[in-house]
């Protein structure tokens, strides 16, 4: 990470002020293995970890493939996605430091939900700045955060100087992730609260590696050797969390990162220093990026609209250790429907991207008559994304 040229303030210094100390330590650690504190393991057990590793038997049958397909189901956690895996340790480290309150921003709401729950698990208060347009369009996400005890505000708010400035210019400003994040950070700084980060940073990928670590143990128990590992990429935390343990243990022959064709970062992104956040408050990191000011089209998988790729994953892609795919949302929707009808689970639109790649690889295994073992991360369920499904249904099936 580096500070931008002629920075008015040091982003690295800001990190130090807003992140829980241990989170920051882990961000910059070089230890290969970090013990999960007992208090975090406890909470992991409560949210249902280890999550199940399931075989997609009916999908195999439907595709008539010799491949075996397994998936790690992160949607089995109460908040319905992998996000909780990092929210818990981050909240814990804040609590350990004697902090009473954590703050974050959220767009579609998954991350905010995870933070609200994680905070409640350590008896912390939580404040979530939710992009106004989502706040209005996704009232259920607001409800669930509040049920978990989170205080949710439609950003821009008048709680921060930054928010007040924007409201003054436009009282009906719809908000943006960048604005919400700026407000969250300002709010945390002003009150000596701590800010929790949802993706991209190494420390987040580290926490998410519980997914891959569990999956390795579960496959071992089944006596399976994985050939292909697949995940979708928003910022890269579910993908990294799932695949890095396999890569590190030299398990698997192929790792496939899947993105949305509508946000073509793998195919057209540049590998350069960029801000991980649209607000430009975090230090620059070297990554594959479409530029922080890139305006993504409104695809139905909101979580994949991120402009960059986590630095470590960017490097693995540059080094050709990880392959990538990009699919169009019509293809994704078809893949999601196949999965729903065969396996019953409504996948998160993001996770459906992984499913599309799985289907392609399974059909390739069929053509090549190879009994490959394909394992993918189903990073979340789509029960709170049915509105998005409805919108794509209208577009695709009209």
């Amino acid at each position: 990470p580096r500070d931008p040229p002629d920075a008015e303030f040091s982003r690295i210094e800001l990190l130090k002020k807003i992140l829980p100390r241990e989170v920051l330590r882990q961000q910059f650690t070089i230890e290969r293995f970090i013990k999960i504190p007992e208090e975090v393991r406890d909470r992991y057990a409560i949210i249902g970890r280890p999550t199940p590793l399931m075989r997609a038997k009916r999908l195999e049958e439907y595709l008539d493939t010799p491949a075996k397909i397994y998936f790690k189901f992160e949607g089995a956690t109460p908040t319905g996605s992998h996000k909780i895996n990092t929210a818990i340790p981050q909240a814990y480290f804040a609590a350990e430091e004697g902090i009473s309150h954590v703050v974050t921003e959220t767009g579609a709401g998954q991350w905010g939900t995870a933070v609200a729950l994680a905070a409640s698990m350590y008896d912390l208060s939580s404040t979530i700045f939710m992009v106004r347009v989502s706040y209005e369009q996704k009232p259920m996400r607001k409800t669930i955060m509040e049920l978990y005890g989170g205080k949710v505000y439609a950003s821009p708010t008048d709680l921060t100087e930054f928010g007040r400035k924007i409201l003054k210019e436009n009282p009906n400003h719809p908000g943006s992730l960048g604005i919400a994040m700026s407000e969250a950070i300002e709010f945390a700084l002003n009150h000596n609260f701590r800010y929790l980060v949802g993706s991209v940073l190494d420390v987040v990928l580290l926490h998410q590696s519980v997914i891959g670590m569990e999956a390795i143990a579960q496959l071992d128990e089944l006596g399976e050797e994985p050939d292909i590992l697949i995940g979708c990429v928003g910022g890269g935390s579910n993908f990294g969390g799932f695949t890095y343990p396999f890569i590190g243990a030299k398990k698997g022959k192929k790792y496939i990162a899947v993105g949305a064709a509508e946000i073509p970062k793998f195919s057209t992104g540049k590998y350069e220093y960029d801000y991980p956040d649209t607000a430009g408050l975090l230090p620059l990191v070297k990554m594959i990026t479409l530029g922080k000011d890139y305006v993504p089209p409104p695809i139905y998988a909101g979580g994949l609209r991120y402009h960059g790729v986590a630095p470590t994953l960017s490097l693995l892609i540059k080094e050709k250790i990880v392959e990538w795919r990009e699919y169009k949302e019509e293809e994704i929707y078809e893949a999601a429907k196949i999965f729903m009808k065969t396996q019953g689970i409504v996948p998160a639109p993001e996770s459906a991207h992984a499913i599309k790649a799985v289907i392609d690889e399974a059909l390739k295994a069929k053509t090549e008559k190879e009994r490959r073992v394909i394992v993918f991360n189903l990073s979340g369920h789509g029960l709170l994304d049915l509105g998005n499904y409805e919108s794509i249904r209208r577009r695709v099936e009209k």
Binding site: D3, P5, F9, S10, K16, I30
Partner: protein
């Protein structure tokens, strides 16, 4: 074995007179190697304190050659120039020749292994070819095998920055970082980047660092309490280093 004190100072900071005074006295007080910073256009890997010192001097310091010659006259210990390769891409040969002529011992480009990783070996050859030693800068974000390779070709010592930037005390486990890198490095290992906490300093030495590089702490001290106080700090750190000799 004596542990090395690598003392950093931004060229000309806070003014030429005080700068010379600090350099001379710090050598008397036990500095083993001088590291002198030439303000770059973009100090990517420096923290706000050092960045501020760059800013302070660039407002009036237009020529680096004269003060460097002066320093070279005043002290006998090795002098290393810290600056960013990025700024010298178009006139590297020239720059190296100038340094060599002044009698500078070596250069340390913190961006070499990060931003020019695909061609770093060519650059190292080129630098050495001009008679200038090259101290390679590494850190926790570099892969082990790169650190091993770098340590073999680094002159004088291998620089290892324990934190992502200078001067900001990001919480890292200094001891485990150094224990780990110590096992990879045959060369002398000098540790820097945010070592102005005596605890961290001791941890680094206990874990096997051959020396430490200190910069931000001196600049802050000068800023707050003046040259004498900064020199007092040199003395204190020398003392700590000697405990581990």
């Amino acid at each position: 074995m004596k542990r090395m004190l690598v003392t950093y100072m931004t060229l000309g900071y806070p003014n030429l007179e005080s700068f010379y005074q600090f350099i001379e006295k710090s050598v008397e007080l036990g500095t083993d190697i001088l590291e002198i910073g030439l303000p770059p256009k973009y100090a990517k890997y420096d923290g706000p304190v050092i960045r501020k010192s760059y800013k302070a001097v660039t407002s009036w310091l237009k020529d680096y050659i004269t003060p460097l010659k002066e320093v070279r006259k005043k002290v006998n210990i090795p002098i290393i120039i810290l600056t960013y390769l990025e700024d010298y891409l178009s006139n590297l040969d020239n720059f190296l020749t100038t340094l060599h002529e002044i009698g500078i011992d070596g250069v340390l480009f913190p961006d070499l292994l990060i931003d020019f990783i695909d061609e770093y070996e060519e650059y190292v050859s080129k630098i050495k070819g001009k008679g200038v030693k090259t101290v390679l800068f590494t850190g926790p974000s570099l892969p082990d095998n790169l650190i091993i390779k770098a340590s073999r070709i680094s002159d004088i010592f291998l620089y290892y920055g324990v934190r992502p930037t200078t001067g900001i005390i990001i919480p890292v486990s200094v001891d485990s970082l150094i224990t780990r890198v110590r096992n990879l490095v045959q060369n002398k290992l000098v540790v820097g980047f945010g070592l102005n906490d005596f605890n961290d300093l001791r941890k680094a030495l206990s874990a096997g660092a051959d020396g430490v590089a200190i910069g931000t702490a001196f600049i802050e001290e000068i800023e707050k309490n003046g040259i004498q106080s900064a020199l007092q700090l040199v003395k204190t750190i020398r003392g700590i280093l000697d405990e581990y000799s």
